[in-house]
């Protein structure tokens, strides 16, 4: 496996993405809006009934669960890019000449993975910093301390979010082999958010304690297992002959 070849493939995709406004919008604007909106909710929620907002005891459970929004974003945003990266090549029928170059299937797949992974992960980590800073700003008065950064947020942002993004990319490779237009790939890829949304809802319903570092590490372990399993399926799907003869 020559990383230089994968990087060439990824660099080309970065150039293509720069010309697609909706990719830029989804990658940057979506997490940015969430990173600002959540602290706004923390600031203004609960004021309608005349109270002084969300009490400190509630904030301590609400803030960790809010970090899971970024996990949901990590499950969705790479899908948008991966759809362009893979189905886009199918639509433009550019896979055949690409596959005829002296690159291996693994190098092309890794290149596509890097292209679909790096921009969203950079955007999500960047906007998560904004989220943490703004949340601290609006909750410090009520909590008396800065809630972020903390160990659990580190586990979510630095371990679970990247794993969710990788899972999203892998899922999209598999979806791409069965669909022939970008929009369908994106719509099906959006289903990748369901497990993460499920975790968030489970936390809100009290089924999972998302404030527990142990629970977060268990979820991360499960994600890691799914990532490894999907990697095998994605590699089996992304084979030259399969792509040219069986991809629809």
């Amino acid at each position: 496996m020559r990383l230089s070849k994968s990087w060439i493939v990824a660099s080309k995709d970065f150039k293509v993405f720069r010309r697609k406004k909706n990719v830029i919008y989804t990658t940057i604007a979506f997490p940015l809006v969430i990173s600002i909106l959540l602290p706004v909710v923390l600031q203004f929620a609960g004021h309608r009934s005349g109270s002084s907002g969300i009490p400190a005891a509630e904030l301590v459970t609400l803030l960790p669960s809010f970090t899971f929004y970024f996990l949901i974003i990590a499950g969705y945003v790479p899908t948008t890019i991966a759809s362009y990266s893979l189905v886009g090549e199918k639509v433009e029928k550019s896979l055949e000449p690409l596959l005829a170059t002296p690159t291996t299937d693994g190098e092309i797949l890794l290149g596509k993975g890097i292209a679909a992974f790096l921009p969203p992960i950079a955007a999500i980590l960047g906007t998560s910093a904004i989220f943490m800073a703004l949340s601290d700003l609006v909750t410090h008065g009520r909590l008396g301390y800065y809630f972020f950064p903390n160990l659990n947020a580190g586990v979510v942002f630095l371990l679970m979010v990247p794993l969710a993004a990788v899972m999203s990319v892998e899922g999209n490779v598999i979806i791409s082999s069965r669909v022939s237009d970008v929009r369908t790939a994106q719509q099906l890829g959006a289903l990748m958010i369901l497990p993460f949304a499920g975790i968030y809802v489970g936390g809100e319903l009290g089924l999972i304690d998302l404030g527990s570092t142990t629970n977060l590490l268990i979820i991360a372990g499960i994600l890691m297992t799914v990532v490894v399993l999907l990697l095998y399926v994605a590699k089996a799907t992304f084979r030259r002959e399969e792509i040219l003869t069986k991809w629809k």
Partner: protein
Amino acid sequence: MIETEALTKRFGDLTAVDGVTLRVEEGEVFGFLGPNGAGKTTMVRMLCCLISKTSGRARVAGYEVGNEADSLKIRKLLGLVPDNVGLYDDLSAYDNLDFYGRLYDCTEAQRKENIKRFLDLLGLWEKKDAPAGTFSKGMKQKLAIARALIHDPQVLFMDEPTANLDPESSKTVRDFILDLKKEKRTIFLNTHNLDEAQKICDRIGILNTRIMAMGTPEELERSVGGRKTVVQLEQVSDAVLVALRKLPIGNAVVDGNRLTIDVTDPEKENAAIMDAIVRAGGRVQSATIVGSTLEDAYLKLVRQAK
């Protein structure tokens, strides 16, 4: 340069290519003619190590097709112009070529030189910064050819390079292929276009899953059986017909004052035919040798296969 031996490809129950044996020499332009679904694209894909063979053997430049270690080496020394151009519409012509140059390990200097050279040759240099998506079909096809040549490949595979092009663009592409031929590159050309095959190819294989015939365009024309001598007379008399029947020649068909005579070697037989006509009192206005065309050969073989 390219050798195959009983090369076969099956997709489930469907046999796409059936026991093809051929040899293409270095610097030769070899053309595959065949109807849709004849296996032309499958052949190219197998030789480019894009899909596996079911059985048989194939070698490109001495490397074994199907051998994992040789696949990358084969792909490095060949260029492919697929039936769909497959360009990146959002990238400029220059960036499309630069991307492929990098994948083929060309240095920056080589890339710059070859991009300029081929875009210039194909009349696209002025448009080098325009997105490929804004190009006409003909320009896209030219860009796809430049892409296949960016690393100066020894072997060039071209799958229907002039399909769907207007006559002017087709001619430009054909002329360019003829220029490449002068550079002694080995070219493997799939085409539906008989005229194109005749003008460009040194040898042609007629493929319909199996090789139906193979040879130079002239050999294929002759293989259909024959040529005809058409003689226009002032009047076709019975005496002329009787005289012709005495000659060891093929059938003679009368159409008004025109005689169409089947001959095998007109250069030798025509003198005797003219002599017999004149001796029988016939007055010859004109005489023409009409050969079977490549189209005749192609249609005959493809119909036979059905």
